[in-house]
């Protein structure tokens, strides 16, 4: 069948939506950053053209930005030792390691891979041009800000057919007040290579300010990549994570995002399936409590035929926390035989918790199977009763249900040690002492 007509409503151009007060605050932040540090010199045009996000911008409708505008300060701490934290947040993990503290590479705490065909180095030590990074694909003002000011991060290149023997952990730690930490990870995985990546963010109790991480990944044909992303930040940070993942023919990428702790977290995960036969899995969970805010925006852009994508995000909201889920599945005109699945489940535990979900489908091809589901509810009374009638306390019973609810996501984490540590930290955060038992038998 032919399908040459371009859809007229795709990528609709809309007039930039500017909120004067927010725009002024954003400009002030940008000016303060420009005065304070040397940026990359990139993205100036985008920053000029893009509106600073506010609640009238569709993608930021439920995401408050008020916490962003404090004047940034240069970080005082630049090593994990000085920050008084652990180099490796996952006990017993046998992995290569890159540690960044407040956006600065900590060579002493790192353990770079020594492996044939693998080049892994901080951008600051890379001999490649600073401008060699790909173009900005996001139309988000904060992503452009990252492009303009991120001078550090990981540069990873895995040559054709190379299988990295251990996972590669990127640990980012934040401490101190009024941070504005920009990081950019450039990852290039050549054909048929395989790699397991872990992104782990931590922060000290007193940390404040912004963390803005952009991960740009290019996955060539037949390559297999797993990314386990864990956010466990104390303090009151504003954490922004952008991922732009471009997949070529027959590549496989699995991304699991776990938000254990974070005052304000936004994940903006984007996939572009450029070649036929791609496999994409993106799963995540978030269990905010107190006043925490977690936002997951995902986009899966099916640009070629015969690709499969599967998405599952599970959220349990406690206290006065709020959550946002926005999942978009985009099927372009020639992407026939696409199979896309999206599921978002949410449980509101307390009466002050809020969830705003928007599972979207935008489909321009006919021979596709796309489905999405979204539920919002509470713990199953009958299941609770079942457990309690067998002598399990209410708290323990609920913990079991939580484990079941996010179990599918947890199981998908590629590195077993990461999954164990995630479960352990969740148990500590929520005071479930029974979890370790259920896990060991699992």
């Amino acid at each position: 069948m032919t399908g040459t007509a371009e859809p007229i409503v795709m990528d609709l151009k809309r007039a930039p939506n500017v909120h004067a007060a927010t725009q002024a605050k954003g400009e002030a932040l940008r000016a303060a950053l420009a005065a304070q540090r040397t940026g990359t010199g990139l993205a100036a045009e985008q920053l000029d053209a893009l509106p600073v996000p506010h609640r009238r911008v569709e993608r930021w409708k439920h995401t408050p930005v008020a916490g962003f505008w404090s004047t940034p300060e240069a970080p005082s701490v630049q090593t994990i030792e000085a920050a008084g934290s652990e180099a490796c947040p996952v006990p017993g993990l046998h992995a290569y390691r890159m540690v960044f503290v407040n956006g600065t590479f900590d060579a002493k705490a790192s353990d770079l891979p020594v492996h044939n065909g693998v080049r892994c180095e901080p951008i600051s030590m890379s001999d490649a041009d600073a401008g060699s990074q790909g173009p900005l694909e996001s139309t988000d003002w904060f992503a452009a800000l990252n492009q303009a000011f991120a001078t550090e991060g990981m540069k990873l290149h895995v040559a054709k057919g190379v299988i990295l023997d251990r996972p590669l952990l990127v640990h980012h730690h934040t401490s101190g007040e009024n941070n504005a930490n920009f990081m950019r990870h450039d990852i290039h995985i050549e054909a048929n290579a395989q790699v397991e990546l872990i992104h782990w963010s931590t922060a000290s109790d007193s940390s404040t300010g912004m963390v803005n991480i952009m991960t740009h990944m290019s996955v060539e044909s037949g390559a297999v990549v797993a990314l386990d992303k864990v956010q466990d930040e104390a303090g009151s940070l504003q954490h922004l994570a952008f991922e732009q993942i471009n997949q070529a023919q027959s590549s496989q990428v699995r991304v699991h995002t776990g938000t254990i702790q974070g005052n304000w977290v936004r994940n903006d995960l984007n996939f572009r399936l450029n070649g036929e036969g791609c496999e994409t899995v993106l799963n995540g969970f978030f269990l905010p409590k107190g006043k925490e805010f977690v936002d997951n925006h995902t986009t899966v852009d099916h640009r070629a035929a015969h690709c499969n994508s599967s998405e599952q995000y599970q959220g349990i909201l406690y206290g006065t926390s709020s959550g946002v889920f926005n999942g978009k599945v985009f099927v372009r005109p020639h992407a026939q035989q696409t199979n896309a699945y999206q599921q978002n489940g949410n449980i509101l535990v307390t009466d002050k918790a809020t969830i705003n979900a928007k599972p979207e489908l935008e489909i321009y091809a006919d021979d596709v199977k796309c489905s999405h589901g979204c539920t919002i509810g509470q713990f199953d009374e009958e299941a609770l009763f079942y457990a309690r009638s067998r002598g399990i306390g209410e708290k323990e019973a609920k913990a079991m249900l939580v484990h079941a609810f996010i179990g599918d996501v947890l199981e998908g984490f590629a590195v077993a040690e990461v999954r164990m540590e995630v479960e352990h930290r969740l148990a500590i955060k929520h005071g479930w002492d029974t979890w370790n038992d259920t896990l060991e038998s699992a």
Partner: protein, 482 residues
């Protein structure tokens, strides 16, 4: 493609030219193009309106001038020039009519072509028809019969004259003038529409129905409908639209307000078949409608719509579930074809305790059309035990069409149960194969499958409408629905 035979049916269904595309030559009294305060004063004086209504219109106009036309829908169209539209046109005949014989023969012919034979309807179907041709209601039947029960069913202009207290109390109470760009425009310039009031405890014995038609080239139509169901009453209201063929885009910005007081029920059904434009989308109607109902305690509002026409549709029939134990329902079939674009859906706003809502939306996209479902389910902190079930399915007929889903789910209460599911697919080849195997040819198989797909919604329509709706879907039913 395996079912190339489909194309034949699809062509038949989708490539059929607009049957009801004819115009009626009736002299009409028409205001000059453009919109300003003087035009609003002119409309108001032509309609012999009281001072409060004129002020209300002018306030709305002042608000509208400050508003921007929304650009968030998933639609692309040339924005109408609001100063190039004539905001008032009325057939010249003004005298009171006592029988059908007095109606202009031209207009009678139009009615006949539409299949609304007044006598037939009076005698056989028991449907009271408030026939609106270009903004002024010219014939109303069954008024007396309804009058005996205390039911008021008349044109909006009559209601303003005869029942000002009711109109003043409820007009704009559900859709405030400031609500959106199109509702503000409508509030400023609406010319006519229907008003319906069901008194306490009365169950309206017949389906109330209004036929709207856009006539008179270059005029927009701004209908205003207000349905008030008093305590413990019931009414089923039908609205159907057909419009003559046009070359320039016509704007239709209607506002429909439903008020369901305690323990009442309103069933509002629409078959929308405005002129969709030619195969390139030229000349179709722009349908920008604001429809909303408010449910008080233990009341129920049910929206059913079959959307087949219009070049551009922007329509979200909504329910505000204000009272405890109130129920909102939305059933929709939207068919888009050729270059049609539809962005339609619903809003269910749960405020009261134990409120329930159901959303069933079926989209069918053919040609190079785009069909979007956009819905909001909002559960506010006060809405304990709110329950929502949403299902939005899309059927794609061609690889150049698009089906999109934008559901917004906002929950602020932990006792709420909200479910949303959506699927997008084409007609299953296995289903076609199954039919073929049993001697049902491909055309019929597709008809069968499409009808089965939409049946959940079609079943919600009152009998009289269901038939028309099926006709509009242009697919023979072959005994699957009685």
């Amino acid at each position: 493609m395996a079912y190339d035979g489909n194309d034949k049916v699809l062509e038949e269904v989708t490539g059929k030219s607009y049957e009801f595309g004819f115009t009626t030559d009736i002299e009409s009294d028409k205001a000059p193009a453009g919109l300003n305060e003087d035009i609003i004063r002119l409309i108001s004086s032509k309609k012999e309106e009281p001072e409060w209504l004129l002020k209300w219109r002018l306030d709305a106009f002042a608000v509208w001038q400050k508003m921007k036309e929304p650009d968030w829908p998933h639609l692309q169209y040339q924005k109408p020039d609001y100063q190039a539209i004539s905001y008032y046109s009325a057939p010249k005949q003004k005298k009171q009519l006592n029988s059908l014989d007095e109606v202009d023969p031209e207009m009678r012919k139009t009615m006949d072509k539409l299949g609304i034979s007044m006598e037939e309807q009076k005698r056989l179907s028991g449907v009271a028809v408030d026939f609106v041709m270009d903004s002024v209601s010219v014939a109303t039947s069954f008024k007396e019969k309804l009058g005996e029960l205390g039911i008021i069913f008349c044109s909006m202009s009559d209601a303003v004259k005869e029942h000002p207290e009711l109109v003043q109390k409820y007009l704009g109470s559900v859709v405030p003038t400031k609500d959106n760009f199109f509702s503000a425009l409508n509030s400023a310039v609406f010319t006519d529409g229907s008003f319906c009031y069901i008194p306490k405890g009365v169950r309206c014995p017949m389906e109330l129905s209004t036929y709207f038609r856009i006539n008179e080239s270059g005029t927009g139509q701004f209908e205003r409908t207000l349905v008030v169901a008093d305590e413990s009453s019931y009414v089923s209201y039908l609205e159907g639209c057909t419009a003559p063929q046009r070359d320039e885009n016509q704007l239709h910005a209607a506002v429909v307000e439903l008020v369901a007081l305690d323990e009442s029920e309103i069933k509002y059904s629409t078959v929308q078949n405005w002129y969709p434009g030619d195969a390139e989308g030229k000349g179709g109607v722009f349908n920008f409608v604001t429809k909303r109902g408010i449910c008080h305690r233990r009341s129920k509002i049910s929206w059913t719509q079959v959307e087949t026409g219009s070049a551009v549709t922007w329509k979200y029939p909504s329910c505000i579930l204000k009272g405890d134990h109130s129920v909102g329902e939305f059933y929709s079939v939207a068919v888009t074809n050729n270059a049609q674009q539809a962005d339609t859906g619903t809003k269910m706003i749960h405020l009261g305790k134990n409120t329930h809502s159901t959303i069933i939306s079926k989209g069918i996209s053919a040609g190079k059309s785009h069909n979007s479902y956009r819905g909001l389910v909002q559960v506010m902190p006060s809405a304990d035990n709110a329950r929502n079930f949403s299902q939005c399915d899309s059927l794609l007929m061609t690889d150049t069409s698009g089906a999109h889903t934008f559901p917004y789910i906002e929950v602020k209460n932990p006792t709420a149960k909200v479910e949303h599911e959506a699927t997008t697919s084409k007609i299953g080849e296995d289903q076609i194969f199954y039919c073929l195997q049993r001697g049902i040819d491909e055309e019929q198989a597709i008809s069968l499958i499409v009808n089965g797909y939409a049946k959940e919604v079609l079943n919600q329509l009152p009998m009289e409408f269901a038939v028309e709706a099926q006709k509009l879907l242009s697919i023979s039913l072959e005994g699957s629905v009685g």
